[in-house]
């Protein structure tokens, strides 16, 4: 920042170390920082969590950090929006045999939009989070989002669905830092969250048992949780399963006696309640199709463009050729890729720069298409 302009910036504080340090850094840079914790759902009914108020620990930690820094802190109740836009979608996707990515969904539909609106009501100019992403502000052009400097922690993958009009108002103070550096900054400031462990699981499935959540929220005896057949591509029944919602494309599925080689989940057919398995070779796809496309940039790549696509968190982006058409992305990989999973995100990059993405609808198989003809 060459010319410092003091802004009132809303910082989403989860009560973790990353957002704590993000708030501290902006505060020290001279901005007026307003900390906010979004209450997204209620822990109350969750066994293993003390029966206190909703998500109380995170809220109290965030408050403690905000009070230490001497900044304001408020709690926003977005439970209704979050339940509708994220949890209901999560359940719906599993019910349809897909593997959802609720963090993407939350960033795209709930978190940033709600923060921006409420931020405006509070007179805030900008929004900041503790994501490991860099917001680059070249002179005279639009703000670009790039992968975080810490490639182990980079979270650009999760942000492809951000409403484009928000991007220019976003601040990611941790983009140039590594996780160990962030912890060190937290320790140096005596923040109570400095040694807090990473949260790995989905926030509304704190015990990791998403099937229990599905049982709670789907109608009784929904097909996704009822027994069905495990079949191979040629239709041979090779086993039984206790509900297709327990499967994800690419998952290894040992079948025991008579099938010494491991099988992998190739496809889920909700209408037939079938889980299709096969050898690892059959997991490779030549391309993929994604819907619900969103572009961070106002100048998205055109059909025929060479791009890189990341189809899983933690997977490297791979080169491919883009074909877009009315709201969908069709993309041909240079090299066949493993486990193109419907429901997951396909995120398009140009080098480190995030361009946009979509939700994977299906894998495309050039060979299979040819063979079928």
């Amino acid at each position: 920042m060459s010319h410092f302009t003091k802004q009132r910036i809303l910082v989403a504080m989860s009560g973790g170390v990353d957002s704590s340090v993000a708030a501290a850094l902006l505060h020290e840079a001279g901005h007026e920082v307003v900390g906010v914790t979004m209450k997204t759902f209620c822990y109350e009914e969750t066994p293993g969590h003390s029966k206190t108020c909703c998500g109380l620990d995170g809220i109290l930690d965030a408050k403690r950090v905000a009070d230490r820094l001497g900044i304001a802190h408020y709690v926003f109740d977005v439970e209704e929006d979050f339940t509708r836009d994220v949890i209901d979608d999560f359940v719906h996707e599993y019910a349809h045999g897909r593997t959802p990515n609720p963090c993407v969904r939350c960033n795209s539909n709930t978190k940033f939009r709600d923060l921006m609106q409420r931020g405006r009501a509070l007179g805030c100019d900008g929004i900041a989070t503790g994501h490991y992403v860099r917001a680059v502000r070249p002179e005279g052009t639009e703000v670009e989002l790039h992968r975080g400097a810490d490639r182990n922690k980079d979270q650009a993958y999760f942000l492809w669905g951000l409403p484009r009009e928000l991007v220019r108002r976003l601040h990611f103070p941790l983009g140039d830092l590594t996780k160990p550096e962030v912890r060190e900054l937290a320790r140096a400031r005596g923040l109570t969250t400095a040694e807090k462990p990473e949260s790995q699981e989905i926030c509304f499935v704190p015990l990791g048992d998403y099937r229990q959540l599905l049982r709670d929220r789907l109608p009784a005896r929904h097909g996704a949780l009822e027994p069905g057949s495990i079949v191979t591509r040629d239709g041979t029944v090779v086993g039984e399963h206790t509900g297709y919602a327990g499967f994800t494309v690419g998952q290894r599925k040992g079948l025991g006696g008579g099938f010494p080689d491991p099988f992998f989940v190739l496809e889920i057919r909700p209408a037939e309640r079938e889980v299709v398995v096969g050898p690892r070779e059959e997991l490779f796809a030549d391309g993929m199709r994604a819907g619900e496309v969103s572009w961070i940039t106002s100048d998205p790549p055109r059909p025929g463009a060479r791009v890189e696509v990341q189809i899983r968190h933690r997977a490297p982006a791979v080169p491919g050729t883009l074909q877009t058409e009315s709201g969908a992305i069709q993309l041909h990989f240079d090299e066949p890729q493993l486990s193109v999973t419907p429901g997951q995100s396909a995120v398009i990059f140009d080098g480190s720069r995030l361009l946009g993405g979509g939700r994977i609808v299906r894998a495309l198989h050039a060979a299979a298409a040819t063979a079928a003809q």
Partner: protein, 390 residues
Amino acid sequence: MEPIYLDHAAATPLRPEARKAMDPWLTGVSGNPQSIHRWGRAARESLEDARERIARTFGATSSEVIFTRGGTESANLAVLGRLEAVRTSPSEPGSGPPLFVYSSIEHSAVREAMAEVEARGARITTLPVSPRGEVDEAELDRLLARRPVLLSVQWVNQETGLILPIDRIAARCREAGVPLHVDGVQAGGRLPIDLAATPIDMLTLSAHKMGGPRGMGALVVREKSHLRPRLFGGGQEQGLRPGTGDVAGAVGFAAACEAMVQGMETEGERLGRLRDLLEDALSAAPVAPRVHGGEGPRAPHILGLGFPSLPRDLLPGALDLAGVGVSAGSACRSGSTAPSPVLTGLYGDAYARTTAPLRISLGWSTTESEVKRAIPIILETLERVRSVGV
């Protein structure tokens, strides 16, 4: 710009009279009132003098005043101590679990204590309060006929300022022989309280809401056999609330009570004028508010407003950033935003869920210039929150 504090129902500054009275007890040796030496005697003299003055202020006798560490503790002693007393006394055969009754708009200190006695096996039920602060007398009689072991009703509601008809309720309880606990935390120093004239069995008071020190309160208990203690120790406070006596707290409490009651009438008129100033100005806001409790008698220091269709969690924060300190009501300890049980009780669940509540409360240090400066800030903030349309 100097920020403006308008949240006196949550906490109000220590009155200078209280501070002056406390000062000698915060420096040097402040003896234990139970010690036999001169320091102990001096402490005991001041503690008991404070007790007498508080008793006199509210028409009680000094042996009826049990010092506690605040309003929540007093209310809990009244409710849970009552359950213990009932449990340990021989009950009428076939009478079933004891029944506790409380008004539908009680403070959480009573509401949660009631939930606890229920968890411990008692039955609980609520006495509805109308938006005018009225209690249906037929319903009251019907409940009293079920012979509850305690009826708990607040005198002044903390979110609306509504004044409940304690005189009439007390008379009915007396006729029915049902012990009555009154939460007087927001009424102390605001309304004339004369226990010699009003047959209240237990009265909860908080020092700091009257400009006394934090962590000090009292439960006025007319009949000790109605209660069993919740804490056990050195037998202080007639065994109902043991622990080393807090002389500084007691003398500060007494000084604050006396100051509040002496100036009650003129201060009430002054705050009522300021409240009306705010109420008139804010009623002209772009989103016209409902004045909570506006149809009934109200204490002058609390103005509760409800703004339809605004987000429930934004106004206090937006006003804080604009330099005005208010609250949404009694917040959950996480600062969370569950609908107010008080508003649910008065206006129904749908209203409480769709309305943004704002509680403005005035105190002894509030000035007219503060109120006049706050009005345009509140109006601007309301307009901004409305125009964003969250």
